[in-house]
């Protein structure tokens, strides 16, 4: 059975009050190439939600739509609405820089800026301004601690961020994002470029953050999704196939299609 034939994909629903993102009828295309088609789902607050699916299914595209990173690409056309805490993020009164401060993002490739470790973490704070040097130091220490990096770098905060290992760089990027105190953290395959030990550290970090933050994780590693997420959405060819609590989706998927994917029978 092709997924084109499914009219009402089996999805769970959260009450509007408990949802952080409320996505309705979202379609998105790069030029003439459609990437998302009629996506409707709600992302629960203070939980970890994972988007899984084969390469090119649109999971990263969906993630980048949540903090309007597609604004940079002139070829992108978009329909449907995304509400963040009830506010349509495309409404003219929304300040996109404030939205992105609230909805932080960590990318697949660790992308620390070419400056010192301290300056990387303080980057967002300096953009906001209004902190004394002392307060800024405190926030930097807190953020590096929250990202489980403080003990490793506390003696060399002035070193270039590019001197860190890949796993440390990724945690630095997370610390940099946490420093501006976002309420959402979007993670776009944050561990795919890392070794297994660094991956475990990132996963521990995700678990430790979910009490305070809404986390949205894109991954092509199903074990990872199973390990860290509370809810999982399975996407294929730009459509939502199944969306359920992680335990349910991995142990008892409602659709054969989902089962085939998570057991590795289709790529």
């Amino acid at each position: 059975m092709g997924i084109e034939g499914m009219v009402n994909p089996p999805v769970i629903d959260f009450p509007r009050e408990a949802s952080c993102f409320d996505i309705a009828g979202l379609s998105l295309a790069y030029g003439d190439t459609p990437a998302l088609e009629g996506l409707t789902l709600r992302v629960p607050r203070h939980r970890v939600t994972a988007f899984i699916g084969p390469s090119g299914c649109g999971k990263s595209t969906l993630l980048r739509a949540l903090n309007r990173l597609h604004d940079l690409d002139e070829t992108v056309t978009q329909r449907g609405t995304i509400r963040f805490e009830g506010q349509d993020i495309h409404a003219p009164e929304v300040a996109v820089d404030e939205l992105r401060r609230q909805v932080g993002m960590v990318f697949q490739m660790p992308n620390p800026f070419p400056m010192s470790i301290y300056d990387n973490v303080a980057f967002g704070l300096r953009l906001q301004g209004g902190l004394t040097r002392r307060q800024r130091d405190d926030v930097v220490e807190w953020a590096l601690g929250a990202a489980a990096l403080w003990d490793e770098v506390k003696d060399r905060l002035g070193d270039s961020a590019w001197s860190l290992s890949g796993g440390q760089q990724q945690r630095l990027v997370i610390a940099r994002t946490l420093a501006v105190k976002p309420s959402v953290l979007l993670l776009d395959e944050p561990a795919s470029a890392l070794d297994p030990i660094s991956t475990l550290k990132i996963e521990d970090l995700i678990r430790s953050l979910k009490g305070q933050l809404t986390l949205v994780l894109v991954t092509h590693n199903m074990q990872q999704a199973a390990r860290v997420s509370d809810y999982t959405a399975f996407l294929q060819q730009g459509r939502l196939v199944e969306y359920a609590p992680t335990d349910t989706l991995f142990t008892n998927p409602r659709l054969a299609h989902t089962e085939n994917y998570i057991t590795g029978r289709i790529a």
Binding site: D97, M105, S163
Partner: protein, 521 residues
Amino acid sequence: MTLAERIRRSRPVNEGAGAWLAAGSVALSLLMLGGLLLLIAVRGLGHFWPASVALVELEDGRQLAGQAVRELPLPDGQGRERLYFTGNRDLDGGVWAWLPVEEIAAQRHPADLVVLERQRWGDFIGRLVAVEPRETEDAPGQSDPEGAWMQLQARLAELETLREARETLERETIRPLARRLEDDPDNVEARQALEAATARVTRQTAAMEETTLVLESVAGDRFRQPLDAVLAASRPNAMSTGEKLGAWTQGVWRFLSEGPRAANSAGGVWPAIFGTVLMVMLMSLLVTPFGVLAAFYLNEVAHQGRLTRLVRIAVRNLAGVPSIVYGVFGLGVFVYGIGGTLDDWFFGDSLPSPTFGTGGLLWASLTLALLTLPVVIVATEEGLARIPDHQREGALALGATRLEMLTRVVLPMAVPAMLTGVILAVARAAGEVAPLMLVGVAKLAPQIPVDGDFPFLHLDRKFMHLGYHVYDTAFHGDDVQAAMPLVFATALLLVLVILVLNLTAIFLRHHVGSRHAMTAP
């Protein structure tokens, strides 16, 4: 055939031809470059070496003193002839002598031959008879060449002190007073002070003219030479190698530090060095912000459509426009257009003599900035394109606005590329001569464009340039032959100046680069 057999060599490998051809081209290029530098270095620096003076006796009994320059075979195979630099333009009318080698009966190098560098008439080569006060009668009595030589050296040292004192007086007393009088013509006090100072200068000048030298050429012509026109004296035949090295160093230093004399055919090139460096630095200051902003707009702001592509192609093609065309543009737009308008608005008092409506430092720098603009734009754009998008997205995801993203993340990362552009621009601009001839370079600009008078940097003044100096010295002197070593020396200097400018920029790039550790991803 097994796999092991298959990967064994079945025929001798000949990777020779391609590798040799490539290595050969590199060797040839290096050889040509080395030959070029060696030629200008030897011909240029050799000029300052005190060449020994030969006293030549010819078969017919004539005598002649000069420095051998080179030897050529006669056209019809009748032996060889040799070129001597004989100096003494005031006595002989010329300074060169071609002598057939077989007519030379004897050649000696007597130690008492002197070479005098003079302000007028060029070098004197001959004998020093006496050093006397001006008013003495000719007394061809017993001559004492050794004593006269000692006296001459002492007098030359005194003269140097006097010259310096006079220059200081003129610079620090007379010129400021003259300026004050210009503003306030009724200031009696200043007028008296000025008259007193002028009188002192006159007295000093008279004192310098007091002494004359009695000189005699080897042919026997005797004449008097006022001492104050003598710049330097040497007896090359009597010098040891160490002394010659000292004289050479002094010669090079004077070449670097003094202004030109005798219609650029002698003297130094300091104003030209200064003009070249100042013009290039001004040009860099003008071109960098424009080029960088243009590249930022093209790469970061503009919609990447057909129009942007068209503009980009046009900019790259601008780099290929011949430089003289830029010169014509600068003359038409900057000098006549903008400069003429500025004169009408602000300098109406001094019209019809133009202030900005004629070539000058500012217009030359602007023209060269325009000429090098494409280089800076292209280099900066390439640097911007190399910055990965995830760096930009990283900044935006932290709530940076587009402007904050550009200034705080992209700009610092693009600095090395910008400096590469500036290095290329400097290399191109420092060597340009053609456009400068139209927009402000001068054969002789006695005043360098920076001095103590407000506004200190005189953008309207004409300036000298090493490249143009080479051209002028080589083609526009009365005696091109004599000026040729200076052409080589100036060319060598131009190469060195460009090298130093480039090294400065490269050092700057390295310094900025290492601060950000621009090595990883």
